[in-house]
Symmetry: D2
């Protein structure tokens, strides 16, 4: 039997986790969006005073803390997607296709300007 996809697996585990604790009442899309933003910012906090170089060679203990914040962002994102009936993989593939059209290789190469300034 095939294993479920990682995103599906997490979705199902989160459903159970919330049901066991009667937490669906708190998991409105609005609250989940706020919680996800908070976790993203907690992740950013680890980097706020680092140089670009330092941010690319984290101490192992910082890297582990950052990995936990990444997990928090993913868990809230998966939960939000479940509540809004969004297929995250499909949404991401759609966005990648959009970005490929907005940032053609020959125009976007080597700089970080926004698509409307290419």
């Amino acid at each position: 039997m095939s294993q479920p996809d990682a995103l599906t697996d997490l979705r199902d585990r989160l459903r159970l986790f919330a049901a066991d604790r009667d937490w669906d009442q708190f998991h409105t899309p609005k609250n989940l969006a706020a919680a996800m933003t908070v976790e993203a910012a907690e992740l950013l906090e680890h980097f706020q005073w680092l140089t670009a170089e330092e941010s690319a060679s984290l101490d192992e203990s910082v890297r582990a803390d950052v990995a936990e914040e990444m997990a928090d962002v993913l868990l809230y994102l998966v939960r939000l997607a479940d509540k809004l009936n969004v297929n995250l993989h499909d949404a991401a593939l759609g966005k990648l296709a959009q970005n490929a059209a907005k940032y053609p290789v020959d125009k976007a190469r080597g700089h970080a300007r926004k698509y409307d300034q290419l």
Copy 2:
């Protein structure tokens, strides 16, 4: 042949996308953390004036916009995980196990207090 996992698939596509455009230079963990936080906040913007109830019954056009912001968060998250050699599924499973221990069903049921106030 088995399909790659959604997260692995996105990781590989993003590697190629960045390489084609010579964008690795911009994708420091610090910058990716900032970009991910910005996308999370853009998602939150859709909900900021909505009531909890309104946030649970979005117009289809708003839901589609929100799905795009979710895709943006996921794409930056996957890219950051790649840069920091973090396996997102494993990190999320680890966090779920931690949360299960911090929020035992009998103590956490039905309220949203933090684990240190259970």
Copy 3:
């Protein structure tokens, strides 16, 4: 002699604080913008699971914590304004005038739609 304005007073105190600690090197606009966003999100964390009603009647201890996060946001904002030579009061008055034009009383009254949907 007249007292300095609150914003000017804080600007001057922060200059001294940073100079004493040789922290100007860390206070790039980019880093200050990240730090301010992190503090705003830490403030938001206090509200993420609250209902609208609960958020309007905080326990005194939560209110005090929130006040500290507000102070953090203000301090980074004042510091960033100093680094970018922005007069915050003038900028805020300018924005208020813009908003008054974008949201005329008769069209904006009683709902939270964006100006382009009035």
Copy 4:
């Protein structure tokens, strides 16, 4: 007659602005905290791909956009402080005193470590 303090002036203008539009119903502390975080992130967006050096020498048009985002953060912060009866100047002075104690000059000089790692 003495001029009102900038923060008091903005507070009063925002009260009138909201009253004219019957917007107090939307200005719960929770919503204001979310809106302020969104504006902070929009400010951060201007910096996300810039190097530290680039962030310190913005084009004038970018600086003007950033000043508008700063105004937005300040306006929501002042509005939130009003709703929670927080005196922002006092809160900021209190936080500065706390920070001075947590980061003594001799220990904090020249590095950006957190107070618990000095």
